[in-house]
Each structure stands twice: as structure tokens, then as C-alpha cells.
């Protein structure tokens, strides 16, 4: 009797994970060459030099750190020592604000471009030039004009989330089937009602796909942006822990960034499924 595909896939996933952890553990367990040295000097050099312990933390170290962060995610012991939960909270807050601002701007403009061939042609050169600019390239300009590092990060999120949503909305609206629009026209449905009753539901799957791409990019960019602006956020945490040479914390942060990114993506994927209609 064969089990369901999901079950078998889960078994394979677990085995792969176990193998990875095992290899990781074995690779970081070994001890390298040690050098005899002055005890005072040895204190400065740490375990890597004195006992030959690997500089890379093993899975057990990382596991212990993750557990430590999970137990107390919201502690605040000053500027450079805040819980992982607080750092994540800041990042998610910035992403949410920048992303929602982008939604408010991109979707109406996307409808305008999708509905008006004139505006489509007129705005096209601007979009083509602005779209490929790395969001971080806006950072100095944002810092100079906004004069607030936190808001600058929000602005960078806004600008990077804007384009996929704008382009997808315009495309989705422009490619709504002619016959559905004709149905609305023969029923003498006004423009505003047509937008909400025909164009929006018809283009919703494409718009949501754009929003899903955008949230992915926003989550990628926030880490880099926070490394630049500093202060708070998961990106700052990663850079700070690098400066502390705490590789365990860096790896922990990497894991957490991945998990949060996956959750954000799944939320949008679920929303996309909710508005998708079978034809």
C-alpha cells in the first residue's frame, strides 16, 4: 500500500533535513591544529585558536540560540540588545507601511494605465526608466529629503513594491476579456460600477500575483535597507551581530528572515487563490 504523496514527500523532507544537520554537525565538530601560546594571549584568541574548535557554530549551538530567542523574544536591554521579536516587529511594520502605501498608489494608477491607451503610452517611458532602478539607489536621496532614517527605509520599501503591482495591475486590467466589458456596456453600466463589478474581479488574480511578487521583493529589500539605516530591524540585527562576530545569531536571523518571508508569501498566495475564478 502506498501512502499519499504528501506523506511520502514529508518523509523525504525530514530525511534530507536530518542528513543536512548531521553533516553540519560533523563538519563543525572537528578540531583543527592548536598552537601553544601565552595564556594571556590565548584568552584574547578564544576557543578557535586554543582548542582548535571550529569557528562555525554547529547545529546544537544554533538550536540553543534559537531556543533562547524564542523563550524571550521581546526583551529590551538598550540600543544594541533587543529581542528578536522586537527587531522583526520593526521590520514587519516598515514593510507593511511601505507596502500599503504602494498598494494605494499602484492599483489606481494601474487601472488608469490599463483602461486608457493614452495614459498607457504616456506613462510607459517613466515606468520603463524607474522600474529597473535598485531600490537602495534611492536611499541617499530619501535620507537627504526625508531626513529620517526609519521613514527612508519605508520609502525604499514603497518604491520597490510599487512596480510589480503597477505593471501587473495595468496588464490585468488591459487584458480583461472584451466580451465581459461588452456585457457591461450593453447593460449601460457606468464607468465606476464597471471598474468594481467587472474589471476588478476579472483582473484580481493578476493584481494579486503582482502584490505577491511585491511583498517578496519588499522583504528582500528591508534587510538591506535596515543594514544601511541601522537602529532597529532584523537587517540591523544581522549587521550588528556580524560586528559582534556572533555567527550563531547571524544564522538564527537568517532562519527567521526565511520563515517570515515564507509566511508573507503564503498569505498573499492564499489571497490569490481566494480571488481566482475557474473558467
Amino acid at each position: 500500500m502506498t501512502r499519499s504523496l504528501t506523506f511520502r514527500a514529508a518523509i523525504v523532507s525530514i530525511l534530507l533535513f536530518a542528513a543536512f544537520v548531521l553533516v553540519w554537525h560533523l563538519a563543525t565538530r572537528g578540531s583543527g591544529a592548536t598552537v601553544a601560546m601565552d595564556p594571556e594571549y590565548a584568552k584574547l584568541m578564544g576557543a578557535t585558536a586554543t582548542t582548535g574548535k571550529s569557528a562555525m557554530p554547529g547545529p546544537l549551538d544554533v538550536g540553543a540560540t534559537v531556543w533562547g530567542h524564542l523563550k524571550d523574544p521581546f526583551y529590551d536591554r538598550g540600543t544594541n540588545d533587543k529581542g528578536l521579536g522586537i527587531q522583526l516587529g520593526w521590520s514587519i511594520l516598515r514593510v507593511t507601511i511601505g507596502y500599503l502605501l504602494a498598494v494605494l498608489v499602484a492599483i489606481p494608477i494601474g487601472f488608469l494605465i490599463g483602461m486608457s491607451p493614452l495614459m498607457s503610452k504616456a506613462l510607459d517611458p517613466f515606468i520603463q526608466v524607474l522600474k529597473p532602478i535598485s531600490p537602495l539607489a534611492w536611499m541617499p536621496l530619501a535620507l537627504y529629503t526625508i531626513k529620517d532614517s526609519g521613514l527612508s527605509a519605508v520609502f525604499v520599501i514603497f518604491i520597490c513594491s510599487l512596480w510589480p503591482m503597477l505593471v501587473n495591475t495595468a496588464f490585468g486590467v488591459a487584458s480583461v476579456r472584451k466580451e465581459w466589458i461588452n456585457v457591461a456596456r450593453t447593460l449601460e453600466v457606468g464607468t465606476l460600477r464597471r471598474i468594481f463589478t467587472v474589471l476588478l474581479p476579472a483582473a484580481a488574480p493578476t493584481i494579486l500575483t503582482g502584490m505577491r511578487i511585491s511583498i517578496g521583493i519588499a522583504w528582500l529589500v528591508i534587510v538591506a535597507a535596515e543594514m544601511l539605516v541601522g537602529g532597529t530591524g532584523i537587517g540591523y540585527f544581522v549587521w550588528n551581530e556580524w560586528n559582534n562576530l556572533s555567527i550563531t545569531n547571524v544564522i538564527t536571523a537568517i532562519l527567521v528572515i526565511g520563515v517570515v518571508g515564507m509566511i508573507l508569501d503564503q498569505l498573499l498566495a492564499r489571497a490569490t487563490r481566494a480571488v481566482t475564478f475557474p473558467e
Binding site: R177, E179, W180, N182, V183, R185, T186, L187, E188, V189, T197, V198, P201, A202, V275, F277, P278, E279
Partner: protein
């Protein structure tokens, strides 16, 4: 000034051609339709039938000429003229009820939700879809989808029903059933109908008048066939009527040969404002001349198909 309910007055449609110049799809087309009549248009692809229908619907504008409906010139789409689309054009994110109710709510904007649904329900029942109200189009068969399209068009109680090959995407059995229902509903409600079809038998069964168009480009309305079959014809024996094959042969002859061979001289000789009205099978010299002692209607000369029953 017109005594016709619908009057197509000298419409033309021209497109800019690829290499400069213009392509004329059809030119100077005149056609009148009386209230409560069923008109079918037959012609090969590219003769501009769909354009004529879209002009009637107000979805397209003629390059020249005008269409008068009920003494008013058509300026755009109107709730007075309902369209049944070839591809049913249901909104897939709405249920059957949602699709019909959308049309009803568009016509009577002040109605309450309950009023709208009650009215929509009547028309869903009319096309025999009671019980499927909460289904989405994707869950319906092709025939059921087109029934919803018909219910949606009828639910706004239009003055004119425009149908663009409504049954061409359906299998033969479903097509027959739906033809019967459309015929019944149109007779009950006294609809004025303008329908495009490729199916000669469908046209003969449904239409009071069959409009024949020559091949495009520069298509013309060559003649109007006045259907001689009785108004109370029924599907099961319409093809046994002695005049059935006279009409059928006339239309098929036109489609097979005359629609192609229609010369410029013929076009010049045509009185476009009053295209010839032909009544096949009637004692008319134009049709029986040349045939020696043939019966007054050619239908009898065919082997009988009714002896098996």
C-alpha cells in the same frame, strides 16, 4: 418617418487597410424589421454580419449611415437591446443567479436585492435552470451556460434581442433543445429578434425572414427570403413541410454559388434600399422558369423522407 421598428439605413463599415487605403466590409446596407419578427442573417465569414449586429447593439459604430430603433437613432449600447453572445460571456466569478441579477440590477437600479433576485429567479426558471442558481459558470455544461446567457438577456425585458451565433458552440442535441426554447420564449414574449447564424436549418426553423449577404469584402445584402413555412411549425415535422426544401435549396444555392458569383453588375443593379424579397416555393416565375413541367414547388421533386414513420 419610418414604419419599421428597426431600420438600418445605409450603413457602411470601412477599415484602414494594411498597405494604405481602406477595406470596405460592407457598404450602403438597408434593412427594416417589423416589431415582433424574427430575422436571421446568413452569410459566409467576413461578410460583416457580426459588425451589423454590433452596430445594432451599439457596441460598434458604422462608418456611414444610421440605425433607427423605435424612431430613435442608436448612439450607443442600450438596455432596450439585449445581446446573447456567441461565447455566452458569463462573468465566471459570479454564480448563475449573480450573472442574471447583475443584468436585472443594471436595469432597475433602485430595486431591493430581494426584488432583483425574485425577478432573476423567474428568468432562470424560464430557461429551465431552477436549482442551479448557486452554481458558477465553470460548473455548467455549454448548453446550460448559454441558457444563463439567454436568461440574462431576457431578464432585462429588452425591446430587441440580438443573437450572435448563439448555438454554434453547442452539440447538435443541445442546440435543438435551445432552439425550441428560444422559439417558444420569443413567441410568448413577442420579441423582435435579430440573429446571426451559419446553420440553414436553424434559420428556417426560427426565422420569419432570412437575410442573405454576399461574401465580403464589399458585401451586400443580396436578398431577403420570406419564410413561407407556417408560424406554428414544430421541430419534429417542419422538415416534412412541402415548402421546406424549396426554402432550404434556395438558401443553400445562394451560399454555395450565388454568394460568390455576385458580380459588380449585380451589385449595381441592386436596389439597396429595397432589396428583393423572395418567397421560395411560391408560384414565382423567377424560380420555376426554365424548368419544364416541374411542380410549382421543387420540394416535391425530392424523394420523400416521411415514409419510414
Amino acid at each position: 418617418m419610418t414604419d419599421k421598428f428597426i431600420s438600418i439605413e445605409g450603413i457602411s463599415k470601412r477599415f484602414p487597410a494594411a498597405g494604405g487605403g481602406t477595406t470596405t466590409v460592407f457598404e450602403d446596407l438597408w434593412l427594416g424589421m417589423e416589431r415582433g419578427t424574427f430575422t436571421c442573417v446568413i452569410g459566409h465569414s467576413g461578410c460583416g454580419k457580426t459588425t451589423v449586429l454590433n452596430v445594432l447593439a451599439g457596441l460598434d459604430r458604422p462608418s456611414d449611415g444610421a440605425v433607427i430603433v423605435d424612431n430613435q437613432s442608436i448612439e450607443g449600447p442600450s438596455l432596450d437591446r439585449a445581446v446573447i453572445f456567441q461565447s455566452h460571456a458569463l462573468l465566471p466569478w459570479l454564480t448563475v443567479m449573480g450573472n442574471v441579477a447583475y443584468a436585472v440590477a443594471s436595469k432597475w437600479r433602485r430595486w431591493s436585492r430581494a426584488q432583483v433576485e425574485e425577478h432573476a429567479q423567474r428568468f432562470i426558471a424560464l430557461v429551465g435552470l431552477s436549482g442551479a442558481e448557486r452554481k458558477r459558470p465553470a460548473e455548467l455544461s455549454g448548453g446550460m451556460k448559454q441558457r444563463v446567457g439567454i436568461a440574462r438577456a431576457l431578464s432585462i425585458e429588452p425591446k430587441i434581442l440580438l443573437m450572435d451565433e448563439p448555438f454554434s458552440a453547442l452539440d447538435a442535441l443541445t442546440r435543438g433543445t435551445l432552439q425550441d426554447e428560444v422559439r417558444r420564449i420569443c413567441q410568448e414574449t413577442g420579441q423582435t429578434v435579430f440573429m446571426i447564424t451559419h446553420d440553414v436549418d436553424e434559420a428556417i426553423y426560427l426565422a420569419d425572414r432570412i437575410v442573405l449577404m454576399t461574401n465580403g469584402p464589399q458585401a451586400v445584402l443580396a436578398e431577403i427570403v420570406d419564410n413561407p413555412l407556417p408560424a406554428d411549425r414544430a421541430r419534429d415535422d417542419v422538415h416534412k413541410h412541402p415548402l421546406y426544401y424549396a426554402v432550404r435549396n434556395h438558401v443553400v444555392d445562394f451560399l454555395v454559388t450565388r454568394s460568390k458569383s455576385y458580380t459588380d453588375a449585380d451589385k449595381a443593379a441592386l436596389d439597396r434600399r429595397n432589396p428583393p424579397i423572395v418567397r421560395p416555393g411560391a408560384p414565382e416565375p423567377a424560380i420555376v422558369s426554365g424548368e419544364s413541367a416541374s411542380p410549382s414547388w421543387p420540394g416535391l421533386s425530392r424523394p420523400s423522407t416521411s415514409h419510414a414513420g
